[in-house]
C-alpha cells in the first residue's frame, strides 16, 4: 500500500518534468508542436491523483499519513534529508493541481493556437506542474523552498510568455522580485528554525517546538518570517502588487497559477506550518489576511479590466484564507483553498473565453487598439456565449457566498471562525469587520462583472455579431469546473447545503498546535460551532446587499454608478488607481535603490578606484622618483668615476650604470665582492 503511494507520488512529480524536458528539447519538431506529449503526461498525472484520492476516500482515515525520505547530503553532522509527506491534505492538493493543470492544458490548445512559442508554453506548464507538485509533496522546508522558487521561476517564464510586450516583461520581473522579497523572509525563517532545531523536516521541527527547543519571541520571529514566504506567493499586502500585473500572462496561466494553485501555495504553507505558529504570529497573520481581503476588495470594486477584477478578487480571497489560518480555523482555510481553486479557475477560464472571442471579433475588424479585456467594451454576451455565461454565473454565485454553492460553505466556515475569534478576543473586533466587509464587496464586484459583461446592450455593437461561443476545448473545462462549484461535491455523503459536514470535514481534522500553551483545536472548533449561526445569517445578508446593489447599479440602472463614484470623491480615485501602490513603490523604493546603486557604482569606479587606488600608484611613483634621484646623485655619481653624464630623469639615471661596457660591470662585481667580504668580516 505504501509503495503505491510512493510510486504514484513519484510519477505525479516527475511526469510533468519529463514532459518539460521533451518539450524544451524537441517539442518544436514534434507533430502539433508536441502538445499531446504534455497533455497525455498531465492526464496520466490526473489519473494517478484521482486514484490516490479514491483510495483515500476508501480508507477514510483522518490520520492517514505516509512519509518517506532519503539523505540528500551528509557532511557528518550537517545532514539534509529530502522526502515525501503524503496525507489527506497532500492528496487533495495533488488532485486540485492535476485537475486544474489538465484543464489548463486542454483549454490552451485553442487559446494559444498558432502562438509562435506554443511548445515552449507547454514546456513551462510542465515545469510549473512539476514544481507545484513538489511543494505539495514536500515533507521538509528545504524541498519546500526549492520548489517554492521553481514555481516562482515558472511563473516568471509564463507571465513573460509574450515578452515582446514591454508590460509583460516588466510584470514577469516584478512577480519574480516581489516573490523573492517574501522568499528572503522564508529563508531567514528556515535558518532560524534550523539553528534551533537542527533539522528541516516538519516532523522534527514540530517535535522541537513541542519540546521547547525553540520558543517565545524566537518562535514568533521564525513563524512570521516563514509566513513572509506565504505573503509573497499568496500576494498578501504589502507584497500584493505583482499578482494583478501577472495578468499579462496568457489567461489559462492566470487560471492555473494566479488563481488556483500557485498563489494558494502560500496558504498551503501556512496550513502546513500552522502547528508551530505562536499566538502572536497568528495574530499578525490574521491581520495581514483580513486587511488584504478587505483592501483588495475595495480595489476590485472599480476595475474595468475583466482580468484585473478577477485578480484583485483572488488577492482578496487569498486574504480570506490567510485570515482563517490566523484565527485558528486552518481547516476552513484549506477548504476555501479547495473550493476557490475550482470556481476561481473557472472564472478565469470564463474570462479567457470572453477575451478569446473578443479578440477574434476585434481581429476580424482589424481593430488592434481596443482592449479586448475591458468590460466597458462588452455587454450582452449572454445570448452569444451561453455556456460561458452559465458556468461563470455559477462560479460567481459560489464566490459571492450564495447557498447551494461551494463558496458558501467554505466562506461561511472562515467567517464563523473569525467571528468566534473576535468573540473570544474582543480587542480584535476589526477582523470580522474586514471579513464581512470583504464579503459584501465581493458579492458586489463579482455581479458587477457579470452584469457588465453578459447583460444589457452591447457597448460595441460593431463587433457584437462576431462574438461566438468558444470551441469545445475551452467550454469543456468550463462545464466541468462550473459543475464542481456546486456544494454537493464537498459535503458528500450528506446533502445539507448549510453545513460543511461531509467527507472533507471527516478527513481533514484540525490538530492541536505544537506550541505549548496554545489554544487547542477542539476549543477552536467548539467556539466556531457556536458562532456558526450568526455568521451564516450575517454573511448571507451582506452578500445579498452586495448583489442587490450591483443589480440596481448595473442591471436595472436605477442607481447611477457614476454618481456614486463622484460622491465618494477621492476614495473612488484611490481605488481605481489601486491606492497608488505601484507608483509609491516605484518612487520610494525602486527609484531610490537604483539611484543608490548608481551612486555606489560611481563611487566605486570613478572615485574610489580612480583617486584612492590610483593615488597609491601616484604616491609610489613620486617616492621612486625621490629615491631615484638620491640613488643617482648620491651613490652613482660618487662611485662611478666620470661615467655619469647629464641624465634627464630617474629612468636615465639607472641607465647610466648600464654602460654596456663589460669592464664596468666587472668592476661593479669586484666592488660588490669586496663589499661582501667586508660585511662578512664585520
Amino acid at each position: 500500500m505504501d509503495n503505491i503511494y510512493i510510486n504514484s507520488s513519484l510519477a505525479i512529480l516527475f511526469l510533468p518534468l519529463l514532459a518539460f524536458t521533451i518539450q524544451i528539447f524537441i517539442g518544436k519538431r514534434l507533430p502539433r508542436q508536441g502538445d499531446w506529449v504534455s497533455i497525455s503526461a498531465i492526464l496520466f498525472t490526473l489519473l494517478l491523483a484521482g486514484y490516490m484520492f479514491i483510495s483515500m476516500l476508501a480508507q477514510y482515515d483522518p490520520n492517514f499519513r505516509y512519509e518517506s525520505s532519503f539523505t540528500w547530503m551528509d557532511l557528518g553532522d550537517f545532514k539534509i534529508r529530502l522526502g515525501f509527506l503524503v496525507d489527506n491534505i497532500t492528496i487533495i492538493m495533488l488532485l486540485v493541481v492535476a485537475l486544474i493543470s489538465s484543464c489548463t492544458h486542454i483549454f490552451s490548445i485553442k487559446y494559444l493556437d498558432g502562438d509562435i512559442r506554443y511548445s515552449r508554453y507547454y514546456a513551462y506548464l510542465g515545469l510549473f506542474t512539476f514544481s507545484m507538485n513538489g511543494i505539495v509533496l514536500a515533507n521538509n522546508l528545504v524541498s519546500m523552498y526549492i520548489f517554492w522558487e521553481l514555481v516562482g521561476v515558472s511563473s516568471y517564464l509564463l507571465i513573460g510568455h509574450w515578452f515582446e510586450k514591454e508590460s509583460a516583461a516588466n510584470a514577469a520581473k516584478k512577480a519574480f522580485l516581489t516573490n523573492r522579497v517574501g522568499d528572503i523572509g522564508f529563508f531567514i525563517g528556515i535558518m532560524t528554525v534550523f539553528t534551533a532545531v537542527g533539522s528541516f523536516a516538519f516532523t522534527d521541527i514540530f517535535e522541537g517546538v513541542a519540546l521547547g527547543s525553540i520558543e517565545g519571541a524566537t518562535l514568533t520571529f521564525a513563524g512570521i518570517c516563514l509566513f513572509a514566504g506565504a505573503m509573497g506567493k499568496s500576494s498578501q499586502f504589502p507584497l500584493h502588487i505583482w499578482l494583478p500585473d501577472a495578468m499579462e500572462g496568457p489567461t489559462p496561466v492566470s487560471a492555473l497559477m494566479h488563481a488556483a494553485t500557485m498563489v494558494a501555495a502560500g496558504v498551503y504553507l501556512s496550513v502546513r506550518l500552522f502547528p508551530l505558529m505562536t499566538p502572536d504570529a497568528l495574530t499578525f497573520i490574521a491581520y495581514i489576511g483580513g486587511f488584504t481581503a478587505f483592501f483588495a476588495a475595495t480595489i476590485a470594486l472599480t476595475q474595468n479590466d475583466i482580468k484585473k477584477v478577477l485578480a484583485y478578487s483572488t488577492v482578496s480571497q487569498l486574504g480570506y484564507m490567510i485570515l482563517a489560518v490566523g484565527t485558528g480555523v486552518y481547516t476552513a482555510a484549506f477548504f476555501h483553498l479547495l473550493t476557490h481553486a475550482m470556481f476561481k479557475a473557472n472564472l478565469f477560464y470564463g474570462s479567457g473565453s470572453v477575451i478569446h472571442s473578443m479578440h477574434h471579433a476585434l481581429h476580424k475588424k482589424h481593430d488592434h487598439d481596443t482592449d479586448p479585456q475591458d468590460m466597458r467594451n462588452m455587454g450582452g454576451f449572454k445570448e452569444k456565449m451561453p455556456i460561458t455565461f452559465w458556468s461563470m454565473t455559477i462560479s460567481t454565485l459560489a464566490i459571492a457566498g450564495v447557498p447551494f454553492f461551494s463558496g458558501f460553505l467554505s466562506k461561511d466556515a472562515i467567517l464563523g471562525g473569525t467571528l468566534s475569534f473576535a468573540q473570544n478576543h474582543p480587542q480584535h473586533f476589526l477582523l470580522p469587520i474586514f471579513g464581512f466587509g470583504a464579503a459584501a464587496m465581493t458579492a458586489f464586484y463579482m455581479f458587477r462583472m457579470i452584469f457588465m459583461t453578459f447583460y444589457g446592450p452591447s457597448k460595441m455593437p460593431e463587433i457584437y455579431d462576431d462574438i461566438h461561443e468558444s470551441p469545445r476545448e475551452m467550454t469543456g473545462p468550463l462545464v466541468l469546473l462550473g459543475t464542481l462549484s456546486i456544494f454537493v461535491f464537498y459535503t458528500l455523503p450528506y446533502f445539507n447545503p448549510f453545513s460543511t459536514h461531509g467527507w472533507f470535514t471527516d478527513l481533514i481534522v484540525a490538530k492541536d498546535s505544537f506550541v505549548p500553551g496554545n489554544i487547542s483545536a477542539h476549543e477552536i472548533a467548539e467556539h466556531a460551532h457556536h458562532a456558526h449561526m450568526p455568521a451564516m445569517i450575517l454573511s448571507l445578508s451582506v452578500a445579498g446587499i452586495g448583489i442587490l446593489l450591483a443589480g440596481l447599479m448595473y442591471l436595472k440602472k436605477i442607481l447611477s454608478a457614476d454618481t456614486w463614484a463622484k460622491n465618494s470623491g477621492p476614495l473612488y480615485k484611490l481605488s481605481l488607481n489601486k491606492f497608488y501602490f505601484d507608483e509609491n513603490y516605484d518612487r520610494f523604493l525602486y527609484q531610490p535603490l537604483m539611484k543608490f546603486a548608481d551612486k555606489v557604482a560611481y563611487f566605486d569606479w570613478e572615485l574610489y578606484d580612480k583617486y584612492f587606488i590610483n593615488g597609491f600608484g601616484k604616491v609610489t611613483s613620486w617616492l621612486s622618483n625621490i629615491s631615484g634621484k638620491f640613488d643617482y646623485e648620491g651613490i652613482d655619481q660618487g662611485l662611478v668615476d666620470g661615467v655619469g653624464r647629464s641624465a634627464k630623469n630617474v629612468g636615465h639615471s639607472l641607465r647610466n650604470i648600464q654602460t654596456g661596457r663589460i669592464q664596468n660591470y666587472i668592476l661593479y662585481v669586484l666592488a660588490g665582492a669586496i663589499l661582501m667580504i667586508i660585511i662578512q668580516a664585520v
Binding site: D641, Q663, N664, L667, L670, A671, A673, I674, I677
Partner: protein, 162 residues
C-alpha cells in the same frame, strides 16, 4: 740554492706580469707575457709538476702566445710597431683591485694552511695519462668536442664573408 732560484723565478713572474698590464705598448706586453708564462712554468717545476711545466711551455708559449702575437700583427699596420694602448678607469680600477688584493692576501695569510708531507714522485706523466683515460674520460672527451667547436667557430668567424 733552490730557495734563491724559487724567489728569482717568482720575481720574474710577478714583474713581467706587471709589465703585461702596465706597459703602454702592446707588443711589449706580449713579450712580457712570454716571461710570465715561462716563470709559471718554472713554478710548476718547483711544484714537482714536470709534465705540467712542459705543457705550459708548449701550449702557452708555443701556441697561445704565438696566436696573440699573430693577432697583434694582424690588427695593426706593420710599420707602426709602437702600438700604443690606453687604459680606462685606471685609478678607480687600481684602487678596487688593490683593496681586493689586500683582502685576498690578508685572508691567505691568516688562514691555517694544512700541508701534507709527501715524497717527490719520479714522474707524473703516467699518472696523469691514466687519470685522463679512466676517471676523467668524460671531461676529456668533452674538452675535445670543445676544441673542435672552437676550431670550427674560429674558422667561421674569421672568414671574410662572415
Amino acid at each position: 740554492m733552490s730557495e734563491l732560484a724559487f724567489w728569482l723565478v717568482a720575481a720574474i713572474t710577478v714583474v713581467s706580469a706587471g709589465m703585461v698590464v702596465f706597459s703602454g705598448q702592446l707588443i711589449y706586453s706580449a713579450i712580457a707575457l712570454l716571461f710570465t708564462l715561462l716563470g709559471v712554468a718554472g713554478l710548476y717545476i718547483f711544484l714537482w709538476a714536470d709534465f705540467m711545466a712542459g705543457i705550459q711551455v708548449m701550449v702557452y708559449i708555443g701556441g697561445i702566445l704565438v696566436l696573440i702575437i699573430f693577432g697583434i700583427m694582424l690588427t695593426h699596420k706593420i710599420e707602426s710597431v709602437k702600438i700604443s694602448q690606453t687604459n680606462v678607469q685606471r685609478k678607480i680600477g687600481a684602487f678596487v683591485v688593490a683593496v681586493f688584493l689586500l683582502f685576498l692576501a690578508s685572508s691567505l695569510g691568516s688562514a691555517p694552511w694544512f700541508q701534507m708531507v709527501t715524497t717527490e714522485p719520479s714522474e707524473t706523466v703516467s699518472t696523469v695519462g691514466k687519470l685522463l683515460m679512466t676517471k676523467y674520460l668524460l671531461p676529456f672527451e668533452v674538452a675535445s668536442i670543445l676544441l673542435l667547436g672552437s676550431l670550427i667557430g674560429a674558422a667561421m668567424l674569421s672568414r671574410k664573408e662572415g
